[in-house]
Point group: C2
Chain length 108, copies 2
DNA sequence: TGTCGACATGTCTATTCTGACATATGGTAG
DNA sequence: CTACCATATGTCAGAATAGACATGTCGACA
């Protein structure tokens, strides 16, 4: 995980209960975060590639601009369900999702 | 989607708000369900391949046997987050997840 | 300078999801 | 039959997440 990611992770409040120390994450917790990061980065990439604004994506999702911003910021308050629904609302297929998720951890 | 899957989907209460008729799902809704089904089937497969009981998986997850059963039954009350955490708790990597998700829709 | 569009951030309340529990079913061994 | 194990199903109080709204930052443009 590079410094930018780490910073985002900490700022976002990702410290979890079981491991008390900073970066004292279990491998599973770390993996889950990596997957979410891959989805949130992939979402921004896909949205920008399609020249869609956050407001427009929110409209298609039946959500709000602020929630889209949080998705792309990998805010801990956004669920995987929502991230995945956002990808689908932009026309991603299951295979596209798989590709995006497969990118997790490659930049460690 | 084969009949068994369809049955599970309906029994589970997947009828969504926007589309009122049976199978009147939007493509995004259908895709989301397919992804979840792939994850739930993949979970059972992985768990059985490792000869782990639902009780044991629940213990590793910090959850309960009934919730694991619901995950594998693709119950609408289980989130993708939980499904993914379950996979990770069984040792799956991001790449394994990608492979599992990529299987969605292939049995349509 | 003022305003406009796009995005970020914080905080509400309502909805959804969670673990826990009770209980039922089905199979297998004694 | 009884006892046990694995799994299924329904319910519920509490935790997590949702959309909505207010508000702030930044850059572009006139």
């Amino acid at each position: 995980m590079d410094k930018a990611k780490r910073a985002r992770v900490v700022r976002g409040g990702w410290r979890v209960g079981t491991a008390d120390e900073f970066l004292g994450l279990t491998p599973e917790e770390a993996a889950l975060i990596e997957v979410k990061l891959a989805l949130s980065e992939g979402l921004r990439a896909r949205r920008l590639a399609m020249s869609v604004s956050q407001v427009e994506l929110a409209r298609r999702l039946g959500s709000s601009q602020s929630r889209v911003a949080k998705m792309e910021a990998a805010d801990p308050s956004v669920s995987m369900d929502l991230l995945v629904r956002a990808h689908l609302a932009l026309g991603a297929t299951a295979r596209d999702l798989a590709r995006t998720i497969g990118k997790a951890n490659r930049a460690a």
